[in-house]
């Protein structure tokens, strides 16, 4: 048994917070009503859904009416992109995205391309940032949507979202931001940004899996993907996932409180301790992503001469949960498209490691990782034929 268990894969998913679990429990059993029913059981469920929607809206400074609950972040991305494409195809068929999107965005855009839409994929610089000049130049008369992620899941880079929205909106183009990694972790204000659409996910912020939301600014027209009973203001039919929605609402309340209590600063402090420790203790370690404009809980690094899956499994044996963008962990032959788009060479991208902190991560956890990781890296380097001029 490892000396300690340290989960540092919060970008993959977060544990359900105790208070979220408590809030959900009654709705899995005794408060089972269908929110669409008129009787007391239904009204009780409806009230809970409404209150939760209001909590989610508050987290991003939206109106409750602008929050469409979905079956997760991927569905919300699909609704934003396909919903826009179907609703606005009479006006144009050109969509702009970036090279470092989540597959829920990039694969949806590529599917639309097969249906006859045109796609422009913006490049990113070595820190993972899109260029506003590139975006500006890519917008055409036929452009109906710009879809770019708020913050990247693999390298933590936060995009210049304000400028992205301003640039697109100045030319009358709708903007969707995939906010799955950002919302709940940094302050996000949809009114201030003036963005049209934004994706949220509950399980990335201590809520349950299988529930997400799409912020849809008042007046923004979308075609639904799921037709039926007309729930979620006609944009997402199906009886509401009451327990999941209540969990999402409780998670939003928790996120709001954590942001007020300085979670960003505390997570940043531990993340900096981790990043500085890695670069001090391990030679040939390259921090990936933007040095400043990055998620406060996100550390990502590439190590020369070793492969990511090996690192993960050795760390796992020591009780540390991490992830990697190496080909062997993705199940394909190519390493992460994000790292490659940032100009990181294949062989270095294979040695990528992502460590994402959470609300329960302690300084002791970080010190434990800083004790284990250098040994894992040096042991694997000793096994590797590469970079032997070092030893």
């Amino acid at each position: 048994m490892p000396a300690r268990k340290v989960y540092l894969d919060h970008s993959a998913t977060t544990p359900l917070a105790a208070e979220v679990y408590e809030a959900m429990k009654p709705f899995l059993q005794e408060r089972f009503g269908n929110p669409n029913s008129l009787h007391s059981w239904g009204r009780e469920a409806k009230k809970a859904v409404d209150e939760s929607r209001a909590s989610i809206a508050r987290l991003i400074n939206a109106e409750p009416r602008e929050v469409i609950i979905t079956g997760g972040g991927s569905e919300a991305d699909n609704l934003a992109i396909k919903g826009t494409a179907f609703a606005l195809q009479g006006r144009g068929r050109h969509i702009i995205t970036s090279a470092i999107e989540h597959h829920a965005v990039i694969d949806t855009c590529k599917w639309l391309e097969k249906q006859g839409f045109e796609l422009t994929v913006l490049p990113v610089d070595e820190t993972g940032m899109v260029s506003i000049a590139d975006l500006d130049a890519a917008i055409r008369k036929e452009t109906i949507l710009v879809t770019i992620m708020y913050a990247n899941n693999e390298v933590g880079t936060i995009q210049p979202v304000r400028e992205i929205v301003r640039t697109a909106r100045a030319k009358g183009v709708r903007v969707h931001l995939d906010g799955v990694q950002a919302v709940g972790h940094i302050p996000v204000d949809v009114k201030d940004l003036d963005v049209d659409l934004m994706t949220l996910s509950a399980h990335k912020m201590y809520g349950p899996k299988g529930v997400g939301a799409l912020y849809v600014k008042r007046g923004v027209k979308l075609d639904p993907l799921v037709h039926g009973g007309g729930q979620e203001f006609g944009l997402r039919s199906g009886t509401e996932n009451t327990a999941g929605i209540v969990g999402f609402g409780a998670a939003a309340e928790l996120a709001n409180r954590r942001l007020e209590e300085g979670a960003v600063e505390e997570e940043s402090r531990l993340k900096d301790l981790l990043i500085n420790g890695i670069t001090e203790k391990i030679p040939n370690a390259h921090i990936t992503g933007h040095p400043v404009e990055r998620l406060p809980f996100h550390a990502s690094v590439c190590f020369d001469y070793i492969e990511g899956e090996s690192m993960l499994l050795r760390l796992d044996a020591a009780g540390i949960g991490a992830s990697s963008g190496s080909a062997c962990t993705s199940g394909s032959l190519e390493p992460s498209h994000v790292l490659l788009a940032m100009g990181i060479p294949h062989e270095l991208a294979h040695g990528s490691l992502r460590l994402t902190l959470g609300k329960d991560t302690t300084e002791e956890d970080i010190l434990y990782v800083l004790e284990i990781l250098p040994k894992v890296v040096s042991d694997l380097r000793a096994l590797s034929p590469l970079g032997k001029e070092l030893s």
């Binding site: 492969e307 080909a327 062997c328 199940g331 294949h346 062989e347 000793a382 590797s384 034929p385 590469l386």
Partner: protein, 124 residues
Amino acid sequence: MYSEKVIELFMNPKNAGRIDNPDGVGQVGNPQCGDIMKIYIKVKDDRIEDISFETFGCASAIASSSMVTEMVKGKTLDEALKVSNKDVMEELGGLPPQKIHCSLLAEEGIKAAIEDYRKKAGIK
């Protein structure tokens, strides 16, 4: 996803490192694909007297390297050339489908090392 044997050999690989003055060295794979296997052999009386490996790659690549070096140690060169990737996989208790190429690297690594030895020794 991995057998216990794979994990055991990945955590504690046998024959890892370099041999001084090897009689043959074989290198297969490439860093772009995320796999490089380098096999070092010492040959005496047409037998593999000593063998070691250095591998850049995932857990199954490291476990396959460890396994194949154990399997061919002490064997004649012709016997060693008969060890196939299937044999390596079997001894490892199987590999996930997307990792089969790791066992292929192991087979090819041995062949490359023997070929290098024979070339150096002037044996056709």
